[in-house]
């Protein structure tokens, strides 16, 4: 199954370690070949350059079939995880010996399960309250939820790591769950947008023929599909 955020794949500076955006945060994929010293130096560069790693995102280490030494794990813990207060969600390995070592450490070794909508309301970071309309060419990007008390005109853009609520008309682009979060929503007082995005899912086949066009809507991502419902309060 292709991951919805594969377009955000970022090769590390060395080209060896891969970073993938995912619903839960970042997946760091280590190559199966190459020395551990080189990987450690690549990680140093990566943490120096990749600002996304400094955010409070969950990280999954995926060692694939690589045999990882205890020394390497110790260096990961001391030089990166503890010193940078990283939030490691899981350590994944296909190598039996490495997996045994990881399990003996008592860390999670399975695939992380993203939180699904419906289980609890999710907010991320602070909400941004915008008591005005956004005109064409104006762009808002925010870590957290965004509330626009006004219109988002054609050509304006709102990007939020959380949910987006537009009190007035949504004619421009709204992208909720910018960091890959799939359990966020887009709400519009009047929906006339040609495209909407949640997480890594893009829906562009929108148009005035839709029955909820020009009406208040709530848009969610369910089973990897964007679902639009007329909002009746």
């Amino acid at each position: 199954m292709s991951h919805p955020l594969e377009h955000r794949e970022v090769p590390a500076a060395s080209g060896d370690i891969l970073l993938k955006g995912a619903g839960y945060g970042i997946r760091m994929i280590f190559p199966e070949t190459g020395s551990e010293d080189k990987l450690l130096s690549d990680l140093e560069k990566l943490f120096g350059e990749a600002s996304l790693l400094s955010d409070n995102l969950g990280v999954v280490f995926d060692f694939q079939g690589r045999k990882v030494s205890r020394y390497f794990i110790q260096k990961l813990l001391s030089d990166f995880i503890w010193s940078r207060k990283m939030k490691i969600l899981s350590w994944i390995s296909l190598d039996g010996e490495t997996l045994d070592d990881l399990r003996s450490m008592g860390v999670a070794t399975g695939e992380p399960v993203p939180e699904r909508s419906g289980k609890k309301e999710k907010t991320s970071g602070n909400a941004l309250f915008l008591p005005r309309s956004l005109r064409s060419g104006q762009r808002v990007e925010h870590e957290g939820d965004v509330l626009v008390i006004g219109h988002v005109n054609d050509g304006a853009e709102v990007f939020a790591s959380g949910s987006i609520c537009v009190w007035g008309k949504l004619k421009g682009l709204a992208h909720a769950g910018l960091d890959g979060g799939e359990d966020h929503t887009v709400v519009a007082g009047l929906f006339e947008a040609k495209q909407v995005r949640i997480g890594g899912k893009v829906s562009s086949s929108l148009g005035s023929s839709m029955e909820w066009w020009g009406k208040p809507v709530i848009i969610t991502l369910e089973n990897n599909s964007l679902v639009v419902r007329e909002l009746k309060l």
């Binding site: 005109r135 064409s136 005109n153 050509g155």
Partner: protein
């Protein structure tokens, strides 16, 4: 009165900035104010042609800024009406020939001489637009009732707001009420709903605009054409007068055949 510097802009090209600038300049001058129309579209100057003054252009405002000539040498006086002047742009230079500081300096010089300084901005949102707008206090945004033009106007309004221009007022140009009636064109309410700024004028589609541009004779030198009357009303509103907006849907079907239909009581 304090001098007023007004930029006429649109974002999209071809919506009527130069036509509006020339006609409002004439109307304000005819109302007794000392007016200069500045062609701020360096490299693509048109205002001199539309105003019928191209054969009298010797210097341009770049020459003034570079010290090649004095301001009054570059100003072209329109002999058809008192107190109307044109300050042309250079046709052989590019937008990069002036800086924002120089344009502010130019506006400062013009403020000492004129009641109204109307700046005809180039299309686009780049340095030409920014330089044209930098020295202005207020703005007239021109749009036609078409989706791309309205979107570009929205973009320009956002930029003007961020530059602190006030008031920013809207002119809806080339309204064709027959198309509006057929649902093929945005109506005035649609445009205002999107742009959410004060409306200062609606100019109906009028063939005489094309003829006047080709002749170099702004319509507001006469009073009969529907577009001329619309530009006159805009000038009056700029001067602070309260002028009602006519219902252009009533103007459909003007002319000989409409007269006959009216005579026989037929409805379309």
């Amino acid at each position: 009165m304090d001098p007023r510097v007004i930029v006429i802009t649109s974002g999209k090209g071809g919506v009527g900035k130069t036509t509006t600038t020339s006609n409002i300049s004439v109307a304000l001058a005819r109302a007794g104010h000392k007016v200069v129309a500045v062609d701020a579209d360096i490299g693509l100057r048109n205002l001199d042609v539309v105003m019928g003054l191209e054969n009298r252009v010797v210097y341009n405002f770049i020459d003034v800024l570079e010290g090649t000539c004095r301001l009054n040498q570059a100003l072209v006086r329109d002999k058809r009406v008192d107190n109307l002047f044109l300050l042309p742009a250079a046709q052989t230079r590019t937008k990069d020939a002036v800086s924002a500081d120089q344009m502010e300096e130019l506006c400062g010089m013009l403020r000492k001489e004129f009641d109204f300084i109307l700046l005809d901005s180039p299309a686009g949102i780049e340095s030409g637009f920014r330089n044209a707008s930098i020295g202005a206090d207020e703005a007239l945004v021109i749009t036609t009732p078409e989706v791309p033009a309205v979107r570009d106007a929205d973009r320009i309004i956002g930029l003007l707001e961020s530059m602190g221009k006030s008031p920013i007022r809207l002119v809806i140009n080339r309204l064709r009420s027959r198309l509006v009636k057929q649902g093929e064109m945005l109506d005035v309410r649609d445009v205002l709903d999107i742009l959410a700024i004060d409306l200062v004028g609606i100019v109906p589609e009028d063939d005489s605009v094309v003829k006047s541009a080709n002749r170099g004779e702004p319509l507001t030198f006469g009073d009969s054409a529907p577009a001329a009357q619309a530009f006159q009303r805009i000038a009056s509103r700029i001067l602070g007068e309260t002028v009602p907006f006519p219902d252009f849907s009533e103007e459909q079907g003007r002319g000989f055949f409409a007269g006959i239909r009216k005579f026989f009581g037929r409805k379309e």
